[in-house]
Symmetry: none
Subunit: 231 residues, 2 copies
């Protein structure tokens, strides 16, 4: 019955109507709320996958409401698109500061609205992917908990080795040169000796070796390293 839906929060019924129609045409389910109180009730009832939130609201203002949503762990991952009346620069900035994922200035075309929604959903999907738990056989890495489990046991791992393992688990089976690893794991604007990668590879292997998983990190002589799931 209730698909993934979008919550529209705006005090003007005409605008809600208009948005609702545009969304329906684009194949989205929508639910309306005229103010923050009723919006909260709707969210409690069922989590929307995205919220269209008017800047100006009676009672709790849109910006305050957004701030509350982004503070609550239950709702903070829901993307918010702010609807602003004027294209005032200050508003944009404050909106994004509050944690809105995008803003759109009235008046706008349905096409633009849908494009923004798609973009935001796309982005949040890939962000969730970033925080996704990665599991390979009996090795699992949980980015949100910053934890690595090996055969059901938590293993002690340093920050750099954690990032290195995370990177490898996200991109298995592919060879990366030391420089590519430095770019991805250390970030591009540090100057670090290429050979340092070797050392951290060794440290990672040492950890994996505690449970005979060191073969996952493979050396490709003359090229770099590869994280492989295959035997």
């Amino acid at each position: 019955m209730s698909e993934q839906h979008i919550l529209i929060v705006d005090d003007e019924a005409a605008i809600r109507e208009m948005l609702h129609l545009s969304l329906k045409k684009a194949g989205y389910e929508a639910i309306e709320a005229p103010d923050a109180r009723q919006a909260r009730a709707a969210i409690y009832n069922q989590m929307p996958m995205l919220i269209l939130l008017d800047w100006m609201l009676p009672g709790t203002s849109g910006i305050e409401f957004a701030r509350q949503l982004k503070k609550d762990p239950q709702t903070q991952q829901i993307p918010i698109i702010m609807l602003t009346a004027k294209g005032e620069e200050g508003d944009k900035v404050r909106g994004l500061e509050v944690g809105a994922d995008d803003y759109i200035t009235k008046p706008f075309s349905p096409r633009e609205l849908i494009a923004r929604i798609k973009a935001v959903l796309r982005r949040s999907a890939s962000l969730q992917q970033e925080n996704q738990q990665l599991v390979i056989k009996e090795l699992q890495l949980d980015p949100s908990e910053h934890r690595v489990m090996l055969k059901g046991q938590e293993v002690q791992i340093g920050p750099t080795e954690f990032r290195l393992l995370h990177f490898f688990m996200k991109n298995p089976e592919r060879v990366y040169s030391r420089n590519q690893v430095l770019d991805q794991v250390w970030g591009g604007n540090v100057y670090i000796e290429e050979r340092t990668v070797d050392v951290h590879i060794r440290r990672l292997r040492k950890i994996l070796a505690e449970h005979q998983y060191e073969h996952l990190v493979q050396t490709v002589r003359g090229v770099g390293y590869r994280f492989s799931i295959r035997e």
Copy 2:
């Protein structure tokens, strides 16, 4: 609905218009973005096959944006053509350093623009081909994984033999003299004994022979070697 398209990133609407029109005439789909943030959203929404990126942008500068794109594995293979206002030499250099694939100086003719685009797309296509998995019967070579599989089993192969096999698989059915092989596989500016090629051919054959595939590497007496799929 959405074909392969080109993303235009420029803060001046007039220039975007102009570019859009030129591209349309040449048969390309185009999408516009006025700044880096919206460009990013557009990219997340759908990967463009090429990006036209203005040097000067409000907020994140074009050069910084290019750097970011080239760092992210998701986007780094998208070719970028930088649009620079003046033909300043320093800009060119910095642009190419950042990883832009070409630059073009305003003002430019639509003809020139299209020519550059075609050239860059051609180049990137052949680069992608460079990373393409090559399969011949039960022999497969994967450059991105830097792996050779023979009858489903990974085979152990040294760097030079890998390059040699890669070269042959890219250019089968053609005879190459020892010198041509040296140029292609070792690179043009090394002085190495011609007979050394024989030795590496032998080493390659030895590997292939583990699975009775040594007949693929054939000697053409008095001329050189050939990699042939035929019996």
